[in-house]
Amino acid sequence: MRRLIALTACAVLVSSLSACSIELGGPPTGGPKCPTRIEPTPKGVNGSLLLTAQAVPNAAVVPCLRPLPAGWTFHDLTARKGKARIVLDFGRDTNRAATITLTRTCDVRGATEAFSDVPGVRKYELVHDSKSSYRSDRFYVNSGSCITHHFVLNSSTGAAQVSALTRALGFVDRAVLRRYVHDYSDGRFELDPTPEAS
């Protein structure tokens, strides 16, 4: 009977774990963090950031997170070949309020080109404003990749909340990550395959 109870308890525990296994990806790491230092030697590069960069090998620019403003929390990072997705929550009620996606390409139809503060990257914006909610998309496009910022907030103050979050959404040049891996391995290997290793 004890073993049956233990087995049942395990099954219940594990089944609840399986339903929220994505949650395990969140804290304690907080997702792909922007390097704390770029020159002379990159520092503070975590595994999440490198994995994000590996998802799209041709991405010249990789999304990263700076310390998040109050109310925003990291939900999870999902990275696979060809796509990486970072999800952030806002407050208690708004899950997946912001999604940052790195892909090879994206569809910018309907979006308006805007000023880009990221060198070598074009920016497009698309806002779906309504009285009860705030939805907008931003696309950062370069030749090898596209970074999409998608915001969905259930309040009329969404624009202000997104504005606050924007300062925490960073970009890191792939060359910085390459340098980091090169230095970490003392030159034994690189972030990306060299032509003869492909």
Partner: protein
């Protein structure tokens, strides 16, 4: 009276000297502890240690990356287009669809053969491995291989390899849940090893995993699955078999046969010449055996083999009765096989010494301490079940006298049904004292009477049995019997036979009574019954939801 002298009284047998097992000597059937499980656990611990070192010391992590990179670079230099296509195919079992196929196939097979224990362990292991691998990956945060083009699909962090961890656990689970132990399983093991190895090679070739990621995933998957099946669904207790019939029966293989032969000789002084399963279809609580012992004439004894599987069956049975009845009578399950066997032996001896027509007990034989025992008693040669025998008034009287005698001795049989009442040479015999009770409740005594009347009425008629009953019991007692007995209080075999005959014997008896008493309320509710019912209901709902989720979604 010893077994030998008891048998000598009826038939001359060849005696053997009884022998006490000295300290240090293994029992007749030693419990086998497979060492391979410990080896895999050790490997798993080594992997965990490596993780801790890699996570805490930069040098270890860098060296591991360097070694992995060197191997991957060398392999990458051998790539060709046809080899890449071949490796893609070889790696199919570890893909989303490959794993889904393995899981669903196992689900169907295990459901079809009703191997519930194996199915629960299978699912639990898969979930634990899956979640453990994901959790560890998100803690270690190891990126995919550096400096090499990754040709295959990948998802999530690299260490440990989630697809290999899940595949390994699935294949080991498949082996232990579906392949009978012995030669077949021994053949299956290298096949599983070969499949895992080929898939790992494919994933390393395609640079989906580094060699250390692949190794870690495999070790975790195999170790957890192996330990889980050996702990919760060991073959000794839950053998994998494809024979139809009750799975509680133990396999009487050569090893067990030799142990029984030796143990009966050493402990009872009898020399078994032949041991064969006997009427397995009628038994679920033990494995019944007919044992021929050496003697001048053909002499048999009857043995009931008990192991942990029977003890668990007893627990489930009592749990079911608690849920159906509530706390009407003591239904405490036995904690050990020893106690289960001791109880039945004691009850049998009590019934026998009371003068009731039960088999003569010869004693308990220990095969594996605390795990496996044989209860030996007289074999009722030539006896037939009462449902197939000719019944006359004398047989009816004998049956009723048995109940009267039990009442007066303060005993109850509690499982009076056609399979447990035999007739031989005009004598009624009663078997299976496993459910017997001392100083039973009046309700239980009344149920014994009613069940005996119903059993006797199966081959005769209600009026005849009723008239004979009035010779031994008064109207109050008979009325009480039928107020206490209905539905669930009758053994299922008895209910089934009454239905098959198409007669409502119970109603016929009630109609004969000069008066009827108010039916005794069967249902009793207690906190324990409420808590158990709620727990089972919750587990059932979770199980169904889990099953649905597992069927429709991929393990990775």
């Amino acid at each position: 009276m010893t077994a030998e002298s008891a048998l000598d009284a009826t038939r001359p047998v060849v005696r053997a000297h009884r022998r006490r097992r000295p300290s240090g000597e293994p029992p007749p059937l030693p419990h086998r502890i497979n060492s391979s499980g410990k080896w895999w656990l050790t490997l798993a611990l080594a992997v965990v240690l490596l993780w801790v070192l890699a996570a805490t010391t930069r040098t270890t992590a860098m060296r591991l990356d360097a070694v992995d990179h060197a191997v991957l670079s060398r392999i990458a230099s051998w790539r060709t287009s046809w080899l890449t296509q071949f490796m893609d195919v070889v790696g199919a079992p570890a893909t989303r669809w490959g794993l889904q196929v393995i899981w669903l196939t196992n689900l169907v097979v295990l459901l079809f053969w009703k191997r519930w224990r194996h199915l629960i362990v299978w699912i639990a292991v898969g979930l634990v491995v899956d979640n453990a691998a994901i959790g560890i990956g998100q803690t270690l945060q190891r990126p995919r291989p550096f400096g090499v083009e990754i040709l295959g699909d990948w998802s999530g962090f690299a260490m440990p390899s989630l697809p290999l961890a899940v595949l390994s656990s699935f294949l080991v689970s498949t082996l232990y849940a579906n392949v009978p132990a012995g030669r077949l399983r021994q053949i299956g093991k290298p096949i599983v090893v070969a499949v895992i190895t080929l898939v790992a090679i494919s994933r390393v070739y395609l640079a989906q995993d580094s060699p250390s990621d692949a190794l870690a995933g495999t070790v975790i998957g195999v170790a957890l699955a192996l330990v889980a099946f050996r702990t919760f669904a060991s073959n000794d207790v839950f053998p994998v078999t494809y024979r139809r019939g009750r799975t509680a029966h133990l396999d009487i293989d050569e090893r067990r046969l030799a142990a029984i032969t030796r143990a009966v000789e050493d402990q009872l002084g009898l020399i078994p010449e032949q041991v064969k399963p006997f009427r397995l279809e009628g038994s679920g609580g033990s494995t019944p055996l007919r044992i021929k012992v050496k003697g001048d004439e053909e002499t048999y004894v009857f043995g009931k083999l008990y192991a942990a599987t029977h003890m668990r069956a007893d627990r489930w049975y009592k749990l079911g009765r608690t849920l159906l009845y509530g706390r009407l009578e003591d239904e405490k399950a036995f904690n050990t096989v020893r106690r289960l066997v001791q109880y039945e032996d004691y009850m049998l001896r009590l019934l026998y010494e009371t003068g009731l027509p039960v088999p003569r007990p010869y004693g308990i034989v220990e095969l594996t301490p605390e795990r496996e025992y044989l209860l030996v008693m007289e074999f009722l040669n030539g006896a037939t079940e009462i449902g197939e025998a000719d019944i006359d008034d004398d047989i009816i009287d004998q049956g009723l006298r048995v109940v009267r005698q039990m009442w007066e001795a303060g005993l109850a049989h509690r499982d009076i049904k056609p399979a447990n009442i035999l007739v031989r040479d005009g004598q009624l015999l009663m078997i299976d004292s496993a459910f017997g009770q001392i100083r039973p409740s009046p309700w239980r005594q009344a149920v014994d009477l009613a069940n005996m009347m119903l059993v006797l009425g199966l081959r005769t008629d209600a009026r005849r049995v009723y008239e004979r009953t009035r010779l031994y019991f008064d109207d109050d007692e008979i009325a009480e019997a039928f107020a206490a007995t209905r539905g669930l209080t009758m053994p299922s075999q008895l209910r089934r036979m009454l239905r098959t005959q198409g007669q409502d014997l119970h109603a016929e008896f009630l109609a004969l009574l000069p008066y009827q008493l108010k039916p005794v309320r069967i249902q009793r509710w207690s906190m324990r019954r409420v808590a158990l019912s709620a727990a089972i209901l919750t587990a059932g709902v979770i199980g169904i939801l889990l099953a649905i989720q597992l069927v429709v979604s991929s393990p990775i």
